[in-house]
């Protein structure tokens, strides 16, 4: 297992967001987290990236307990990429500087090499002409692709995607999903929180349905999305179908 989450607990005051949640992810596996808003998807991703401190449980990456307080969180985060719903690009930096910030400052790579690598990635995703632009000149879909590249140049072992298409216009969703599909083809291990059920079905090896801070049901996409065992999952999916999103 590349990532194991065991009995993860997270409370915000009286609100139990993660209720002894357990989830394992194998290397090269793509796991889609689905569930209503507030079911704990984003919090789980933030906990794995150590941006949010868990209240109980153990998370391991490559067999190492990363929730041990003696572990350097910066070193762990260098192995885990996180892409946010609202892109969170640095507005005062060009696209190229956004991407090369971590390689140059954290990994101490020479600037020229980091830039070259960034340009390779940008041309792969069709954005090489935007390298000198500031993020506010880019469309949402372009910004999100830059954000994904920014996470990828760190060569992470694991990529976490937090509803990366939720803030996008429908016509821009496709370009981001295509990119994620390509990453899967290259064997990137990914955990993605998503509302795009159709995409989850296509790209995920396993779908986990989160409800009230627990994994209520998980399995192959066809089973969880097509023939769910739990009544709560069925209810959630029928609402999504009503909303026209499946």
């Amino acid at each position: 297992m590349l990532l194991t989450c065991t009995d993860i607990r997270k409370e915000f005051g009286a609100n139990v967001v993660l209720d002894n949640l357990s989830l394992d992810v194998d290397e090269h596996e793509v796991v889609a987290l689905i569930g209503a808003s507030g079911s704990g998807k984003s919090t789980l991703l933030r906990c794995v990236n150590l941006l949010t401190e868990i209240d109980d449980g153990v998370i391991t990456l490559d067999g190492e307990d990363i929730t041990d307080p003696r572990v350097d969180p910066d070193a762990v985060r260098q192995k885990i990429g996180l892409v946010f719903q609202s892109y969170n690009l640095f507005p005062h930096m060009t696209v190229l500087d956004n991407i090369t910030l971590a390689p140059v400052r954290v990994h101490k790579r020479p600037v020229a090499a980091a830039r070259e690598q960034a340009m390779e990635w940008l041309s792969r995703v069709g954005l090489s002409d935007k390298s000198g632009s500031y993020p506010d000149r880019l469309s949402g879909g372009q910004q999100q692709r830059v954000a994904i590249v920014r996470a990828l140049v760190n060569s992470p072992r694991l990529l976490l995607l937090d509803e990366v298409t939720s803030a996008l216009d429908p016509e821009l969703v496709g370009e981001v999903l295509t990119m994620i599909r390509e990453l899967k083809g290259e064997g990137m291990t990914m955990v993605l929180a998503t509302h795009e059920m159709g995409f989850a079905r296509q790209v995920a090896d396993r779908v986990a349905f989160l409800d009230k801070g627990r994994v209520l049901e998980q399995g192959p996409p066809e089973q969880v999305l097509g023939d769910p065992v739990e009544a709560r999952t069925r209810q959630f999916l029928s609402r999504i179908i009503e909303a026209g999103r499946l």
Partner: protein, 287 residues
């Protein structure tokens, strides 16, 4: 509108109407300004004491004397050189001190508590303490300790200005730091950047850009308050004016010094306005 577009008849009519209205408003404004100016002039020059005020505040000969330092009087212009040097040094030091304090105040965790408490106490006390009192305390109190290597009164006075303005600037910087959205910090940390690097490369550049207008405004205030150093003794422009005034029983040297201070502030005020306008435009652009 593209250059090839031919405005319609109704649009041409609108343009003509707007132009006519603009011309009318401009004429009206010019006329009312002239009337108010004339009334002010007549009111001041027609007042019973105007001749006395004119000779004791606007005497040309005494102005030249104060400016050049004729007849063994200190020159206001030479004094101004001290103000200029103090302004540059005090501004740089106060900005550096303010930034440092602001960063210390944002530190988290129990280890940083004493530092944080000290920084907070500092900004609270020196924002409340009148600058004049700080100058007296520094310039006359510290030499009173009779320590070896006590710097000159000028340096101590400058330190008083730096310490006072540092407290104001620290609060401006802190407001800027806190205005940067937490998601920016999360993004930087998720890339593996340490707290320090996140501050240096992500938070501070955005924070400083955002608070540049208020920072510059405080710098303009610092510029003129540098003149208060005259209270501690060194012969700056204001002190020179005071000596001139004491010798000639005429207040014109103060007016001379005042005009020089305004002239000196103009460039920075101009820059401040320009930066503020640019920031406002950028925000209105909706980015």
């Amino acid at each position: 509108m593209s250059s090839s577009h031919q405005p319609s008849k109704i649009q041409l009519e609108r343009i003509a109407y707007r132009r006519k209205r603009a011309i009318r408003s401009t004429l009206l404004a010019a006329l009312s300004t002239a009337v108010v100016g004339l009334l002010l002039y007549l009111g001041v020059t027609g007042s019973p004491g105007w001749e006395r005020v004119k000779s004791s505040f606007f005497d040309w000969d005494i102005a030249v004397q104060a400016l050049t330092g004729r007849d063994n009087y200190p020159s206001v212009l030479e004094g101004l050189w001290l103000n200029i040097r103090l302004m540059v040094i005090c501004t740089a030091c106060a900005l550096a001190l303010g930034l440092l304090i602001a960063i210390l105040r944002t530190l988290r965790g129990p280890v940083a508590f004493p530092v944080r408490a000290l920084a907070t106490t500092y900004t609270y006390s020196f924002r409340g303490l009148p600058l004049i009192i700080v100058i007296y305390l520094f310039a006359f109190g510290i030499p009173g300790l009779r320590l070896q290597g006590t710097p000159s009164v000028t340096v101590l006075g400058a330190a008083a200005i730096v310490v006072t303005y540092g407290a104001y600037l620290a609060e401006v910087f802190r407001a800027g730091i806190e205005s940067v959205h937490p998601s920016q910090v999360a993004a930087a940390r998720s890339l593996g950047l340490s707290y320090r690097r996140t501050m240096r490369h992500v938070v501070l550049p955005q924070a400083i850009r955002r608070v540049t207008p208020p920072l510059l405004n405080d710098t303009v205030a610092l510029q003129k308050d540098v003149g208060l150093i005259s209270l501690a003794g060194p012969i700056d422009a204001i002190r020179a004016a005071q000596i001139n005034q004491a010798g000639t029983a005429n207040f014109t040297p103060y007016v001379v010094a005042g005009v020089l201070f305004v002239l000196m502030a103009l460039p920075l005020i101009g820059v401040t306005d320009w930066v503020t306008l640019r920031a406002a435009r950028r925000q209105n652009a909706g980015t």
